[in-house]
Protein backbone atom coordinates (compact mmCIF):
# COMPACT_ATOMS: atom_id res chain seq x y z
CA UNK A 1 0.00 0.00 0.00
CA UNK A 2 2.67 2.49 0.97
CA UNK A 3 4.74 1.60 -2.05
CA UNK A 4 1.71 2.13 -4.23
CA UNK A 5 1.17 5.52 -2.63
CA UNK A 6 4.75 6.43 -3.19
CA UNK A 7 4.71 5.47 -6.82
CA UNK A 8 1.49 7.32 -7.47
CA UNK A 9 2.86 10.38 -5.68
CA UNK A 10 6.02 10.26 -7.67
CA UNK A 11 4.07 9.81 -10.88
CA UNK A 12 1.95 12.81 -10.00
CA UNK A 13 5.01 14.88 -9.31
CA UNK A 14 6.60 13.69 -12.51
CA UNK A 15 3.49 14.76 -14.40
CA UNK A 16 3.72 18.15 -12.74
CA UNK A 17 7.30 18.33 -14.01
CA UNK A 18 8.86 18.55 -10.60
CA UNK A 19 12.65 18.54 -11.02
CA UNK A 20 15.17 16.33 -9.29
CA UNK A 21 13.16 13.15 -8.90
CA UNK A 22 16.39 11.22 -8.41
CA UNK A 23 17.55 13.58 -5.76
CA UNK A 24 14.26 13.21 -3.93
CA UNK A 25 14.61 9.46 -4.17
CA UNK A 26 18.00 9.81 -2.49
CA UNK A 27 16.43 11.88 0.25
CA UNK A 28 13.62 9.42 0.72
CA UNK A 29 16.00 6.53 1.21
CA UNK A 30 17.79 8.56 3.89
CA UNK A 31 14.56 9.03 5.80
CA UNK A 32 13.88 5.41 6.51
CA UNK A 33 14.17 5.81 10.26
CA UNK A 34 11.38 8.39 10.41
CA UNK A 35 7.86 7.17 11.08
CA UNK A 36 6.04 6.27 7.89
CA UNK A 37 3.36 8.90 8.24
CA UNK A 38 5.83 11.71 8.68
CA UNK A 39 7.97 10.45 5.87
CA UNK A 40 5.01 10.28 3.56
CA UNK A 41 3.85 13.73 4.48
CA UNK A 42 7.32 15.16 4.10
CA UNK A 43 7.75 13.43 0.81
CA UNK A 44 4.43 14.83 -0.26
CA UNK A 45 5.61 18.39 -0.01
CA UNK A 46 9.28 17.96 0.72
CA UNK A 47 10.09 20.99 -1.40
CA UNK A 48 8.28 23.22 1.07
CA UNK A 49 9.29 21.61 4.34
CA UNK A 50 12.93 20.83 3.85
CA UNK A 51 15.06 23.91 3.94
CA UNK A 52 17.86 24.28 1.46
CA UNK A 53 20.51 23.64 4.13
CA UNK A 54 19.06 20.34 5.28
CA UNK A 55 18.66 19.30 1.70
CA UNK A 56 22.29 19.90 0.81
CA UNK A 57 23.45 18.19 4.03
CA UNK A 58 21.44 15.07 3.21
CA UNK A 59 22.74 15.16 -0.28
CA UNK A 60 26.32 15.25 0.93
CA UNK A 61 25.69 12.25 3.18
CA UNK A 62 24.00 10.47 0.31
CA UNK A 63 26.93 11.21 -1.99
CA UNK A 64 29.45 9.83 0.51
CA UNK A 65 27.46 6.66 1.13
CA UNK A 66 26.95 6.26 -2.60
CA UNK A 67 30.68 6.58 -3.27
CA UNK A 68 31.65 4.04 -0.62
CA UNK A 69 29.00 1.55 -1.70
CA UNK A 70 29.98 1.96 -5.35
CA UNK A 71 33.63 1.30 -4.54
CA UNK A 72 32.71 -1.82 -2.53
CA UNK A 73 30.45 -3.11 -5.31
CA UNK A 74 33.15 -2.50 -7.90
CA UNK A 75 35.78 -4.34 -5.87
CA UNK A 76 33.43 -7.30 -5.37
CA UNK A 77 32.60 -7.41 -9.06
CA UNK A 78 36.28 -7.22 -10.07
CA UNK A 79 37.05 -10.03 -7.60
CA UNK A 80 34.30 -12.28 -8.97
CA UNK A 81 35.32 -11.69 -12.57
CA UNK A 82 39.02 -12.25 -11.90
CA UNK A 83 38.33 -15.50 -10.01
CA UNK A 84 36.18 -16.70 -12.90
CA UNK A 85 38.87 -15.89 -15.43
CA UNK A 86 41.47 -17.66 -13.31
CA UNK A 87 39.25 -20.75 -13.17
CA UNK A 88 38.84 -20.92 -16.96
CA UNK A 89 40.98 -23.44 -18.88
CA UNK A 90 44.08 -21.96 -20.46
CA UNK A 91 43.66 -20.37 -23.86
CA UNK A 92 44.45 -22.77 -26.69
CA UNK A 93 45.10 -25.81 -24.51
CA UNK A 94 43.30 -29.07 -25.24
CA UNK A 95 40.58 -29.83 -22.74
CA UNK A 96 38.49 -32.99 -23.15
CA UNK A 97 35.51 -31.93 -21.10
CA UNK A 98 35.20 -28.35 -22.38
CA UNK A 99 35.89 -29.07 -26.05
CA UNK A 100 33.19 -31.67 -26.63
CA UNK A 101 30.77 -29.38 -28.45
CA UNK A 102 33.50 -27.59 -30.36
CA UNK A 103 34.98 -30.91 -31.49
CA UNK A 104 31.56 -32.08 -32.64
CA UNK A 105 31.14 -28.92 -34.72
CA UNK A 106 34.59 -29.25 -36.26
CA UNK A 107 34.07 -32.90 -37.18
CA UNK A 108 30.47 -32.84 -38.35
CA UNK A 109 29.73 -29.30 -39.51
CA UNK A 110 30.70 -29.91 -43.13
CA UNK A 111 28.48 -32.96 -43.63
CA UNK A 112 25.63 -31.63 -41.47
CA UNK A 113 25.36 -28.13 -42.91
CA UNK A 114 27.43 -28.19 -46.10
CA UNK A 115 29.17 -24.97 -45.08
CA UNK A 116 32.92 -24.74 -45.53
CA UNK A 117 32.97 -21.92 -43.01
CA UNK A 118 32.18 -23.74 -39.79
CA UNK A 119 31.26 -20.49 -38.02
CA UNK A 120 28.51 -19.85 -40.57
CA UNK A 121 27.35 -23.43 -40.12
CA UNK A 122 27.07 -22.84 -36.39
CA UNK A 123 25.35 -19.47 -36.31
CA UNK A 124 22.97 -20.09 -39.21
CA UNK A 125 22.28 -23.79 -38.83
CA UNK A 126 22.99 -25.31 -35.43
CA UNK A 127 22.20 -22.13 -33.57
CA UNK A 128 20.07 -20.27 -36.10
CA UNK A 129 17.48 -19.56 -33.44
CA UNK A 130 20.02 -17.27 -31.72
CA UNK A 131 20.60 -15.37 -34.92
CA UNK A 132 16.87 -14.94 -35.42
CA UNK A 133 16.67 -13.43 -31.96
CA UNK A 134 19.58 -11.12 -32.74
CA UNK A 135 17.88 -9.91 -35.90
CA UNK A 136 14.75 -9.17 -33.90
CA UNK A 137 16.76 -7.33 -31.25
CA UNK A 138 18.15 -5.08 -33.97
CA UNK A 139 14.70 -4.60 -35.48
CA UNK A 140 13.27 -3.76 -32.05
CA UNK A 141 16.07 -1.27 -31.47
CA UNK A 142 15.19 0.41 -34.74
CA UNK A 143 11.55 0.55 -33.74
CA UNK A 144 12.44 2.12 -30.39
CA UNK A 145 14.55 4.74 -32.17
CA UNK A 146 11.61 5.32 -34.51
CA UNK A 147 9.26 5.88 -31.60
CA UNK A 148 11.67 8.17 -29.73
CA UNK A 149 13.06 10.27 -32.55
CA UNK A 150 10.21 10.43 -35.03
CA UNK A 151 9.24 13.97 -35.99
CA UNK A 152 6.18 14.64 -38.06
CA UNK A 153 6.93 18.24 -38.93
CA UNK A 154 10.14 18.72 -40.89
CA UNK A 155 13.08 20.41 -39.24
CA UNK A 156 13.38 24.12 -39.93
CA UNK A 157 15.76 24.93 -42.75
CA UNK A 158 19.22 26.29 -42.06
CA UNK A 159 19.70 24.40 -38.81
CA UNK A 160 21.68 21.74 -40.59
CA UNK A 161 23.81 23.86 -42.87
CA UNK A 162 26.95 23.97 -40.80
CA UNK A 163 27.22 20.20 -40.75
CA UNK A 164 25.89 19.62 -44.23
CA UNK A 165 28.76 17.98 -46.07
CA UNK A 166 27.14 17.56 -49.47
CA UNK A 167 29.06 20.56 -50.83
CA UNK A 168 32.37 19.14 -49.59
CA UNK A 169 34.37 18.37 -52.71
CA UNK A 170 36.94 16.11 -51.07
CA UNK A 171 34.26 13.96 -49.46
CA UNK A 172 32.33 13.63 -52.73
CA UNK A 173 35.38 12.68 -54.80
CA UNK A 174 36.62 10.19 -52.23
CA UNK A 175 33.08 8.89 -51.85
CA UNK A 176 32.84 8.20 -55.58
CA UNK A 177 35.74 5.78 -55.22
CA UNK A 178 35.11 4.42 -51.74
CA UNK A 179 31.33 3.96 -51.56
CA UNK A 180 30.99 1.42 -54.41
CA UNK A 181 33.90 -0.64 -53.08
CA UNK A 182 32.53 -0.58 -49.53
CA UNK A 183 29.06 -1.68 -50.62
CA UNK A 184 30.47 -4.28 -53.02
CA UNK A 185 32.73 -5.67 -50.30
CA UNK A 186 29.75 -5.82 -47.97
CA UNK A 187 27.77 -7.85 -50.48
CA UNK A 188 30.81 -10.07 -51.09
CA UNK A 189 31.08 -10.79 -47.37
CA UNK A 190 27.34 -11.39 -47.15
CA UNK A 191 27.13 -13.77 -50.12
CA UNK A 192 30.27 -15.72 -49.21
CA UNK A 193 29.27 -16.23 -45.61
CA UNK A 194 29.26 -20.03 -45.96
CA UNK A 195 32.60 -20.11 -47.80
CA UNK A 196 34.80 -17.52 -46.13
CA UNK A 197 34.88 -15.51 -42.91
CA UNK A 198 32.01 -13.14 -42.51
CA UNK A 199 28.34 -13.64 -43.13
CA UNK A 200 25.07 -11.82 -42.93
CA UNK A 201 25.77 -9.65 -39.93
CA UNK A 202 29.26 -8.51 -40.92
CA UNK A 203 28.32 -7.95 -44.54
CA UNK A 204 25.14 -6.15 -43.57
CA UNK A 205 27.06 -3.86 -41.23
CA UNK A 206 29.52 -3.00 -43.99
CA UNK A 207 26.72 -2.31 -46.49
CA UNK A 208 24.93 -0.18 -43.89
CA UNK A 209 28.09 1.86 -43.31
CA UNK A 210 28.39 2.34 -47.07
CA UNK A 211 24.77 3.54 -47.29
CA UNK A 212 25.40 5.99 -44.45
CA UNK A 213 28.47 7.34 -46.24
CA UNK A 214 26.40 7.71 -49.40
CA UNK A 215 23.78 9.67 -47.53
CA UNK A 216 26.40 11.90 -45.88
CA UNK A 217 28.35 12.64 -49.04
CA UNK A 218 25.59 13.00 -51.61
CA UNK A 219 22.55 14.07 -49.64
CA UNK A 220 18.93 13.02 -49.53
CA UNK A 221 18.22 13.14 -53.24
CA UNK A 222 20.68 10.38 -54.07
CA UNK A 223 20.02 8.21 -51.04
CA UNK A 224 16.27 8.44 -51.69
CA UNK A 225 16.93 6.86 -55.07
CA UNK A 226 18.53 3.85 -53.37
CA UNK A 227 15.84 3.20 -50.77
CA UNK A 228 12.55 4.85 -49.90
CA UNK A 229 10.62 4.65 -46.68
CA UNK A 230 8.02 2.34 -48.17
CA UNK A 231 10.69 0.12 -49.66
CA UNK A 232 12.47 0.13 -46.32
CA UNK A 233 9.41 -1.21 -44.51
CA UNK A 234 8.55 -3.81 -47.11
CA UNK A 235 12.09 -5.12 -47.61
CA UNK A 236 13.04 -5.37 -43.95
CA UNK A 237 9.70 -6.90 -43.01
CA UNK A 238 9.95 -9.40 -45.84
CA UNK A 239 13.53 -10.33 -44.89
CA UNK A 240 12.55 -10.98 -41.26
CA UNK A 241 9.46 -12.92 -42.31
CA UNK A 242 11.46 -15.01 -44.74
CA UNK A 243 13.98 -15.81 -42.03
CA UNK A 244 11.20 -16.97 -39.68
CA UNK A 245 9.58 -19.15 -42.34
CA UNK A 246 12.82 -20.68 -43.62
CA UNK A 247 14.01 -21.43 -40.13
CA UNK A 248 10.69 -22.89 -39.04
CA UNK A 249 10.87 -25.17 -42.07
CA UNK A 250 14.38 -26.35 -41.27
CA UNK A 251 13.47 -26.89 -37.62
CA UNK A 252 10.42 -28.88 -38.70
CA UNK A 253 12.40 -31.14 -41.02
CA UNK A 254 15.28 -31.45 -38.58
CA UNK A 255 13.10 -32.38 -35.62
CA UNK A 256 11.19 -35.00 -37.66
CA UNK A 257 14.27 -36.39 -39.41
CA UNK A 258 12.88 -35.46 -42.80
CA UNK A 259 14.94 -34.69 -45.85
CA UNK A 260 14.97 -30.96 -46.55
CA UNK A 261 13.96 -30.00 -50.09
CA UNK A 262 16.88 -27.56 -50.16
CA UNK A 263 19.91 -29.59 -51.27
CA UNK A 264 23.19 -29.16 -49.46
CA UNK A 265 25.09 -29.06 -52.75
CA UNK A 266 28.80 -29.41 -53.26
CA UNK A 267 30.72 -27.87 -50.38
CA UNK A 268 32.78 -24.96 -51.62
CA UNK A 269 30.56 -23.81 -54.48
CA UNK A 270 28.54 -20.64 -54.10
CA UNK A 271 25.15 -22.42 -54.25
CA UNK A 272 25.70 -24.83 -51.42
CA UNK A 273 25.07 -25.25 -47.73
CA UNK A 274 21.29 -25.40 -48.06
CA UNK A 275 19.49 -22.53 -46.42
CA UNK A 276 22.57 -20.74 -45.14
CA UNK A 277 23.01 -18.53 -48.21
CA UNK A 278 19.42 -17.17 -48.31
CA UNK A 279 19.45 -16.76 -44.53
CA UNK A 280 22.70 -14.82 -44.79
CA UNK A 281 21.11 -12.54 -47.36
CA UNK A 282 18.03 -11.99 -45.17
CA UNK A 283 20.12 -11.19 -42.09
CA UNK A 284 22.36 -8.91 -44.13
CA UNK A 285 19.38 -6.97 -45.49
CA UNK A 286 17.88 -6.53 -42.03
CA UNK A 287 21.19 -5.43 -40.50
CA UNK A 288 22.14 -2.99 -43.25
CA UNK A 289 18.70 -1.41 -43.36
CA UNK A 290 18.63 -1.14 -39.57
CA UNK A 291 22.02 0.61 -39.45
CA UNK A 292 20.97 2.99 -42.17
CA UNK A 293 17.54 3.54 -40.63
CA UNK A 294 18.95 4.39 -37.21
CA UNK A 295 21.35 6.85 -38.82
CA UNK A 296 18.51 8.50 -40.73
CA UNK A 297 16.41 8.76 -37.58
CA UNK A 298 19.29 10.42 -35.72
CA UNK A 299 19.98 12.76 -38.60
CA UNK A 300 16.58 13.82 -39.86
CA UNK A 301 13.92 12.28 -37.65
CA UNK A 302 12.44 10.33 -40.53
CA UNK A 303 13.42 7.21 -42.41
CA UNK A 304 13.40 8.79 -45.82
Amino acid sequence: MTIKMKISDRLKRWLEESPDLLEDAGLISEERDLPREVARREQHDSDRILSEGARSFDRKKFRTAYGILAAVAAVILIGVLLTTVAALPRYGVENERMDEVADYYIEHALEDTGAVNIVAGMILDYRAFDTLGESFVLFTALNCVLILLRRDEPEEEGDDDYYDLTHDNILRKVGLVVIPSVILFGFYVMLNGHLSPGGGFSGGAVVGAGLILLSVAFGDAVSARVITEKGFRIVSGAALGFYCLAKSYSFYTGANHLESVVPLGTPGSIFSAGLILPLDIAVGIVVSLTMYGIYRMFRKGSLL
Partner: protein, 86 residues
Protein backbone atom coordinates in the same frame (compact mmCIF):
# COMPACT_ATOMS: atom_id res chain seq x y z
CA UNK B 1 54.62 -10.57 -32.95
CA UNK B 2 54.47 -11.05 -29.21
CA UNK B 3 55.64 -7.46 -28.67
CA UNK B 4 53.09 -6.20 -31.20
CA UNK B 5 50.32 -7.97 -29.29
CA UNK B 6 51.46 -6.51 -25.99
CA UNK B 7 51.62 -3.03 -27.48
CA UNK B 8 48.11 -3.47 -28.89
CA UNK B 9 46.72 -4.62 -25.56
CA UNK B 10 48.38 -1.73 -23.74
CA UNK B 11 46.97 0.70 -26.29
CA UNK B 12 43.58 -0.91 -25.80
CA UNK B 13 43.70 -0.25 -22.07
CA UNK B 14 44.96 3.29 -22.57
CA UNK B 15 42.18 4.01 -25.07
CA UNK B 16 39.50 2.51 -22.83
CA UNK B 17 40.56 4.51 -19.80
CA UNK B 18 41.12 7.78 -21.63
CA UNK B 19 37.80 7.47 -23.49
CA UNK B 20 36.07 7.24 -20.13
CA UNK B 21 38.01 10.07 -18.50
CA UNK B 22 38.43 12.49 -21.37
CA UNK B 23 36.92 15.89 -20.61
CA UNK B 24 35.86 16.68 -24.15
CA UNK B 25 33.07 14.54 -25.54
CA UNK B 26 34.29 14.78 -29.12
CA UNK B 27 37.72 13.51 -28.07
CA UNK B 28 36.01 10.69 -26.15
CA UNK B 29 34.15 9.58 -29.27
CA UNK B 30 37.28 9.64 -31.42
CA UNK B 31 39.25 7.69 -28.81
CA UNK B 32 36.40 5.19 -28.67
CA UNK B 33 36.61 4.72 -32.43
CA UNK B 34 40.37 4.19 -32.14
CA UNK B 35 39.63 1.61 -29.45
CA UNK B 36 37.37 -0.25 -31.86
CA UNK B 37 40.03 -0.19 -34.55
CA UNK B 38 42.65 -1.66 -32.19
CA UNK B 39 40.08 -4.21 -31.05
CA UNK B 40 39.44 -5.25 -34.64
CA UNK B 41 43.18 -5.80 -35.23
CA UNK B 42 43.21 -7.86 -32.04
CA UNK B 43 40.36 -9.99 -33.40
CA UNK B 44 42.40 -10.71 -36.52
CA UNK B 45 45.34 -11.77 -34.34
CA UNK B 46 42.94 -14.05 -32.44
CA UNK B 47 42.01 -15.62 -35.80
CA UNK B 48 38.43 -14.44 -36.02
CA UNK B 49 38.33 -12.25 -39.13
CA UNK B 50 34.53 -12.21 -39.21
CA UNK B 51 34.43 -10.48 -35.83
CA UNK B 52 37.14 -8.12 -37.06
CA UNK B 53 34.97 -7.05 -40.00
CA UNK B 54 31.98 -6.50 -37.74
CA UNK B 55 33.99 -4.61 -35.14
CA UNK B 56 35.51 -2.32 -37.77
CA UNK B 57 32.15 -1.62 -39.41
CA UNK B 58 30.01 -1.29 -36.28
CA UNK B 59 32.43 -0.13 -33.59
CA UNK B 60 34.67 2.19 -35.56
CA UNK B 61 32.08 3.14 -38.17
CA UNK B 62 28.41 3.18 -37.39
CA UNK B 63 28.36 3.64 -33.63
CA UNK B 64 30.98 6.38 -33.90
CA UNK B 65 28.80 8.15 -36.44
CA UNK B 66 25.77 7.80 -34.17
CA UNK B 67 27.73 9.31 -31.26
CA UNK B 68 28.83 12.18 -33.47
CA UNK B 69 25.24 12.75 -34.64
CA UNK B 70 24.12 12.88 -31.02
CA UNK B 71 26.86 15.36 -30.13
CA UNK B 72 25.74 17.45 -33.07
CA UNK B 73 22.15 17.34 -31.89
CA UNK B 74 23.08 18.57 -28.43
CA UNK B 75 25.59 21.03 -29.91
CA UNK B 76 28.58 19.76 -27.99
CA UNK B 77 31.05 19.17 -30.79
CA UNK B 78 33.28 21.76 -29.18
CA UNK B 79 33.65 24.07 -32.18
CA UNK B 80 34.28 27.70 -31.39
CA UNK B 81 31.82 29.31 -33.79
CA UNK B 82 28.87 29.03 -31.50
CA UNK B 83 27.24 32.04 -33.12
CA UNK B 84 26.75 30.11 -36.30
CA UNK B 85 24.89 27.44 -34.43
CA UNK B 86 22.34 29.69 -32.89
Amino acid sequence: MEIFKIVLLLLLIVCAVSAAFSRRLLASVIIFMAYSLIMSITWILLESPDLAITEAAVGAGVSGILFLMTLKKIKRTGNDNKDENQ
